[in-house]
């Protein structure tokens, strides 16, 4: 029989072996229990026949087989385990289930509330017709984002002081949307309606990150959340489209037209509720499934880099200038926004401690070529902008261009420093996350100040 110290030593060895097993994705906790039972019985039989405990352990482990071969065999039998599944209610009874069902109830209630909120104005004599299009456009974010903020405020136990601030922000947004923007209407009103969601998204971020909003990591999590939410929302929208199509088709077959119901109920209510459901799914799956946006970033960063370099070379070669139509500036704004997004999401997925690699060089090529292309466009437009006059649209587009240009220029500087080994990757993260309020501040300026400045446009 093994002595006391021998069996303690054996337990340590078995612990280590168990940990190796646990790291194999195809082998689950119950399998480990089964295999451990086998190993222990083998060991006790071997020690009874005269082997020392450590020898018995080695023999027993050898008999069970090499871990690689074993986990391959398990993987062949349980191939579904290699695909990470999103399990909303864990089958493992050891985990607390109450939190997840309570979460689901809260989310679906809030989604329902958002769906009803969209239809609330109808009760006050503002039906969903083309004449009221601008009203709904101005208020679109106000139907959904306060509820999303409330969900995260509840989930993260946001401090009462922050809660009061968030409430003030949303009330103010409601006032701006329906008093000043409404009064001015026109281009400035439309611009404000487009910028309001951007400004309010930061309020969602404050609630999402909770106490971690001041930290780089907290904001980075919010950036990751935003990207995944976008992907999930698009997927839900595609599914919703298929669902709606089938519903209309089969009811059409029995002579019932659902068009009015779909247009004034299903689509607006579904679009509002889906934001909450998608947010909840992102929350539930964050640790289970790979993030999708960084994968897309990996695919498209090289493509965009090649495209921009080809653009610059062609422009130099043919000597063509950038045309100065109205849309050009907005087009280049969007280009810079995409480059910033590509940078942001590859930063969000990168291990800050990893050394510089080939992908980082591609990233720099992308940033620098985007900057050069934008400067060429700005040069062409800037030369004649006074001829066009400073309209609300042009000032907004120019302001956005400058904000993104500043972001990318400094990012390029920090990134190149990192590549040359003179700085750490975290300074790039800090710059990107620190810059988030700038976007919101500019969006707020467009919402608040533009209707006052551009009274006549």
């Amino acid at each position: 029989m093994p002595t006391h110290s021998e069996s303690a030593q054996l337990d340590v060895q078995i612990d280590q072996w168990r940990n190796f097993l646990r790291n194999r994705r195809a082998i689950q906790a119950v399998d480990v229990v089964e295999l451990e039972d086998h190993l222990r019985e083998q060991i006790s039989n071997l020690t009874e026949s005269g082997l020392a405990a450590d020898e018995a352990f080695l023999v027993a482990v050898k008999r069970i087989g090499r871990l690689d071969a074993l986990s391959n065999e398990f993987a062949r039998e349980h191939s579904e385990r290699l695909w990470k599944q999103l399990v909303l209610a864990p089958a493992d009874a050891a985990e607390p289930q109450g939190g997840i069902t309570r979460d689901a109830i809260v989310v679906f209630s809030l989604a329902l509330a958002a769906a009803l909120l969209v239809k609330l104005p109808v009760l006050f004599g503002i039906p969903m017709v083309n004449a009221n299009e601008e009203f709904y456009l101005r208020n679109a974010s106000l139907f959904v984002l306060p509820l999303l903020t409330a969900y995260f405020a509840w989930k993260r136990n946001v401090a009462p002081a922050t809660l009061r601030w968030l409430a003030v922000v949303f009330v103010a947004a409601g006032v701006f949307a329906n008093v000043t923007l409404f009064a001015h209407g026109g281009t400035a009103g439309m611009l404000g309606a487009l910028h309001l969601p951007i400004a309010l998204w930061i309020a969602v971020g404050v609630a999402y990150a909770g106490a971690r909003w001041k930290e780089v990591a907290g904001r980075m999590d919010f950036i990751r959340f935003s990207g995944e939410l976008f992907i999930y929302y698009v997927l839900i929208a595609l599914g919703g489209g298929v669902f709606t199509g089938f519903m209309m088709m089969i009811f059409e077959a029995i002579g019932i037209t659902l068009q009015p119901f779909v247009q004034s109920w299903l689509i607006p209510c579904g679009a509002a509720g889906a934001v909450l459901v998608a947010s909840w799914l992102v929350e539930a799956k964050q640790s289970v499934i790979e993030n999708m946006v960084p994968v897309l970033t990996r695919l498209f960063t090289p493509l965009f880099a090649v495209m921009l370099v080809a653009f610059l070379v062609t422009m130099l070669w043919t000597g063509r200038g950038v045309g100065i139509q109205r849309e050009v500036l907005i087009g280049f704004d969007l280009l810079l926004a995409i480059v910033v997004a590509l940078l942001l999401y590859s930063v969000s997925a990168r291990d800050p401690r990893a050394p510089a690699g080939a992908f980082d060089v591609v990233q720099i090529v992308l940033i620098v070529s985007a900057l050069v292309a934008d400067l060429v466009a700005l040069w062409a437009i800037g030369a004649r902008i006074s001829d066009f006059g400073f309209s609300a649209n042009r000032v907004a587009a120019l302001g956005e261009n400058i904000i993104l240009l500043v972001n990318l220029s400094w990012s390029a500087v920090v990134y190149i420093r990192f590549l040359r080994g003179r700085g750490s990757f975290t300074s790039l993260e800090r710059w990107q996350t620190g810059y988030l309020p700038v976007y919101a501040a500019w969006a707020a300026i467009v919402v608040i100040a533009f209707p006052l400045v551009f009274r006549n446009s």
Partner: protein, 122 residues
């Protein structure tokens, strides 16, 4: 004598099912029984039994349950199901056919099979 891997894989299902017909059992005891029955000639890598058991369980040919063993640890017991018995009968017929075929070949071709560890003609 080492038995070919494919042969071991193919024979594992009827062997395991036949052992379970004797009564419910668990992994280590099943392997011990295999060793006894084969006189030590069939050497399975112990761990490989479990994916086989899990496949049989998924196919509904065995049913598993957890029990607490004498040593206080959780132990997974397997028992054969009616479906498993049908499968065993089917396997039995197939193996008899293979066996009969091989016997026929060995006798008509009069291929000498060494019955002792020493090769014939040595």
């Amino acid at each position: 004598m080492e038995i070919n891997k494919d042969l071991i894989a193919a024979s594992s299902t009827p062997i395991v099912l036949a052992i379970l017909v004797e009564g419910d059992s668990y992994g280590y005891a099943i392997l011990k029984r295999v060793r006894e029955l084969s006189g030590g000639r069939m050497e399975w890598t112990d761990g490989m039994l479990y994916p086989v058991m899990h496949r049989l369980e998924r196919d509904g040919e065995v049913k598993a349950r957890w029990e607490v063993a004498d040593n206080g640890r959780k132990r997974k017991y397997y028992g054969i199901t009616p479906r498993g018995r049908t499968r065993l009968k089917d396997e039995h017929k197939q193996w008899q056919a293979v066996d009969a075929t091989l016997r026929g070949i060995w006798s008509t071709r009069s291929i000498a099979i060494p019955s002792s560890p020493l090769p014939q003609g040595a």
